[in-house]
Amino acid sequence: MPTPEDSEFAAAVRRAGLAIPAERWEAMRDAYFSMQALLKVLDDPLTYADEPAVLPDLAPRRGRR
Amino acid sequence: MVDLGLPWAEAPEQLGFSAARLERAAAVIRRDVDRGVIPGAVLVIARAGRIAYAQAFGFRDREEKAPMTTDAIFRIASMTKPLTSVAAMMLAEEGRLEIAAPVAEYLPEMADRTVGPERKKAARTMTVQDLLRHTSGLTYAAFGDSPVQMIWRDANLMDENETIAATVAKLGRLPLMFEPGTTWEYSMSTDVLGRVVEVVTEKSLADVFAEHIAGPLGMVDTGFAATGARAARVAEPQIDAKTGQRPAMRNVREPGLRHSGGGGAVATAADYLRFCQMLLNGGELDGVRLLSPKTIAHMTADHLPPGCGYGETARPRFGALAPVPEMGHGFGLGFAVRTHQGRSPVPGSVGDYFWGGVHGTYFWIDPQEQMIVVLMAAAPDQRLRYRYLTRQLVYAALSRSRGRRGI
């Protein structure tokens, strides 16, 4: 009986178009949830003014950071 | 006894020297001559205004088998810098030159300086003090292969057929290596200072030296050339076994149009001894006063700011006598000065001041011991070793130390 975690992970794997061998399933699933736990902080709300770091730089003859 | 610019003591012991130890020192130098390490040298030691020891060693020109004489004329190279510095301080005393002023006040071509290969605007302007203590941001092109030095090399700043005025004009268009005031970098600063002296006095540096320093002090062979009968007294380097040639040195037997305040002068040991005695006396010799004692005290104080940086040649080039804190030396207005008794492995006294020339000449003045030592040699590859060695040998020959009372 697959757990809800298994279902969520299975969906993520399918959406990414990947194949994970059975013997590595558990390790990859745990890794996936460890990652999601760290990335929780990204759910904190930001203001409208907080733009992303990587933006196109169209200024002529000026370097971008 | 030959005239070496100052009266002789009756015996070295009178001045607190051991004759036996002086002879031991002489044997070390003679051995170097015999082994071909140096072609020859003139060594003069004075204390309390009198000569304790003076000797000519080896050859004035080994290849010509001409023996060294005490009146031999040497290319004193960077020992020109103290002469130029004294000239500048004399103008300052007269109120004609301001040590705190921007160099650009006297040399407009030195205004609007940039720093580094990226040519960013300098944070502050260079001052006359920066020129005197080598913190102007200038360098010598031959000292390294940093981006700025590569740019400088392309500008050919050492052209013997060019006046210093023309060289300084070129310098004005080149980027500095360092921000002014931040870094001690041995440099063309004193050439620029010489040009400042020329502009303020409206005379050539040769005339300034002759009329205001060499003439009044009786330094009869000091100038930018050794022409006429003097030409026969010029000391020459020996052939370098590695290259089979003599190390290249400037032709000084004909007058040139380049009066380099940073390195162009010639002098005898006697001449330079008189110059040193003037400094040790607080600016006066035989009734002729060039500078006030307070000015000499100011020149021989450490002028490097706290946290002063250093260019990469400072330590390797000057070794145990580099004006760096870990060697216990600073730099004043024209000379290096010893700030600590310890730290440097080479002996000296706190407050002694000195400089040397790239061709092998060296002097130091030790006010604590009331002592002056002038070493003249045309041996560029031995210069650092001989600076150390001479200090070691001379201090080892002292039998009484510390101040006038002890002498």
Partner: protein
């Protein structure tokens, strides 16, 4: 354990060559002999290129003796992490996928080092595609730490760290996406400089993560890093991340000392990242030494480590996955297991998470930049050290710990790793100096002042002083 017989550093070799006291041909032969002699033990090289090296050394020697010395690096050996293109040579990225990948052109950095007259000795081990970890299921073995070959070299510029620490090369190029220049430097006891993002071109270097990848040097001394950066830095119109800013003279400010500088010591930041007592004491001593040298050292607080980690560990895997997704789907078996699994994690990052990470990244960058309004440089750890055993490195798909170094990939400021002592087991410990964006001068200057006063440079691995 002394430097007496260690091979010359970049600066030493440069001075000796300039003075005519060292022959580039002899220097190159010595490097080739050491490279070949030590590769069984260190696996630092994927390919050694003796013919090419000898030809380049002979050319350099002829040019230099003929009065055509190009500059300070002329005639000196170097190595390239095998993700850098060198025309005519294979760039494998340590991967089975690129075994036939012959470079048609030099990377911009390679071209600059070649134009400076340097002599390429070979291509150096990495981790597969500069990510993954030490793996034994690849065509080339993982590099080993010269201080103790049972130990890990640190992250992916692993052959570069090993070759410099073992005295084979005075300069090896690395790349740093989360710390891969600074971490091998830390574990191998060398200097590793990650320049500001945009300072050094990345064109012709196999990408891992476009918005974090940074190219830079590993060297034995800080002065050597300055010498290398002088040649490497500069605008490359063909790298869209390259900054069009002038390049200063890095050596001219190197010796200016730290008197009057304010250095922010991010002590808590290191502690929170798991730095142990031994290394913390070494970092405290480094802070005290800088204070003694005339700097004002103040403790500063950085934003929480997990914010930096969330940013780095979203952006890096997401961009890497985008680069590798086709191969991961069609021929996943070609990768080492650890590479494959770590790359796959990037496939699970959502678009919203990626954008959020880039938004948080801008906030963190501004916060770190604001510290430089009060401080000239920051001092912190690079990674908890010393190097673990190679057999004990974490090879799971999710790295349990993320090194501190990656914070400054997220924010882009220049950061340099250098030794700050030795652990009880004899392995090096490392500190990190961070500076204002595009102000590598201060980083090098602070690091040089510390290095000269601390004196760790004279301690070399025993391997480095063996005859080749």
């Amino acid at each position: 354990m002394n430097s007496q017989h260690a091979p010359p550093t970049l600066a030493e070799a440069s001075r000796l060559i300039a003075a005519g006291d060292l022959s580039p041909v002899e220097l190159t032969e010595a490097a080739l002999a050491r490279a070949a002699g030590l590769n069984d033990r260190l696996a630092a090289f994927i390919e050694i290129t003796p013919d090419r090296a000898r030809a380049a050394a002979r050319r350099a020697e002829a040019d230099i003796t003929g009065g055509r010395r190009r500059g300070p690096l002329h005639g000196i050996p170097y190595g390239l992490k095998d993700i850098y293109d060198a025309k005519g040579l294979r760039t494998t990225a340590h991967s089975r996928l690129l075994l036939d990948n012959i470079a048609a052109e030099d990377a911009e950095t390679t071209a600059r080092l070649e134009a400076a007259g340097m002599v390429l000795i070979g291509k150096l081990a990495t981790h597969e595609f500069a990510t993954g970890g030490p793996a034994f299921d690849l065509p080339f073995p993982p590099a080993r730490n010269p201080w103790n070959t049972a130990h890990f070299t640190g992250w992916s510029s692993s052959g570069s760290g090993a070759a410099v620490a073992a005295g084979i090369l005075p300069l090896a190029m690395g790349s740093d996406t989360g710390g891969s220049i600074r971490l091998p430097a830390a574990y191998c006891g060398t200097v590793g400089l990650k320049p500001t993002y945009g300072r050094v071109s990345r064109r012709g270097v196999v990408p891992l993560c476009y918005s974090l990848d940074t190219c830079g040097p590993l060297t034995w001394t800080v002065e050597d890093a300055a010498l290398a950066l002088q040649v490497l830095a500069g605008h490359d119109p063909r790298d869209p991340g390259s900054a069009d800013l002038p390049v200063p003279d890095y050596r001219s400010t190197l010796r200016q000392g730290v008197v009057g500088l304010r250095i922010g010591y991010a002590r808590r930041f290191s502690e929170d990242a798991g730095v142990g007592a031994e290394q913390q004491a070494a970092l405290d001593a480094a802070a005290q030494l800088l204070q003694k040298l005339g700097a004002t050292v103040v403790e500063v607080a950085l934003p929480p480590n997990d914010h930096f980690q969330a940013v780095a560990r979203t952006i890096s895997p997401a961009e890497s996955f985008a680069i590798h997704q086709d191969d991961l789907r069609k021929r996943p078996e070609m990768y080492a297991r650890v590479t494959r699994e770590r790359l796959m994690l990037g496939g699970f990052v959502t678009a919203a998470q990626y954008v959020q990470a880039q938004r948080l990244r801008r906030i963190l960058t501004a916060k770190v930049a604001s510290l430089f309004e009060e401080c000239d440089a920051l001092l912190t750890a690079v990674i908890p050290g010393p190097a673990p055993l190679l057999a004990e490195t974490d090879d799971g798909p999710w790295r349990k710990t993320q090194p501190i170094s990656s914070a400054f990939n997220a924010t882009g400021q220049p950061a340099l790793a250098l030794p700050c002592g030795f652990a009880a087991n004899g392995l090096p410990l490392s500190a990190q100096i961070v500076g204002r964006a595009f102000n590598e001068e201060i980083v090098l200057r602070v690091a040089h002042a510390y290095e000269q006063a601390a004196g760790w440079t004279s301690r070399r691995p025993a391997l480095a002083t063996l005859p080749a």
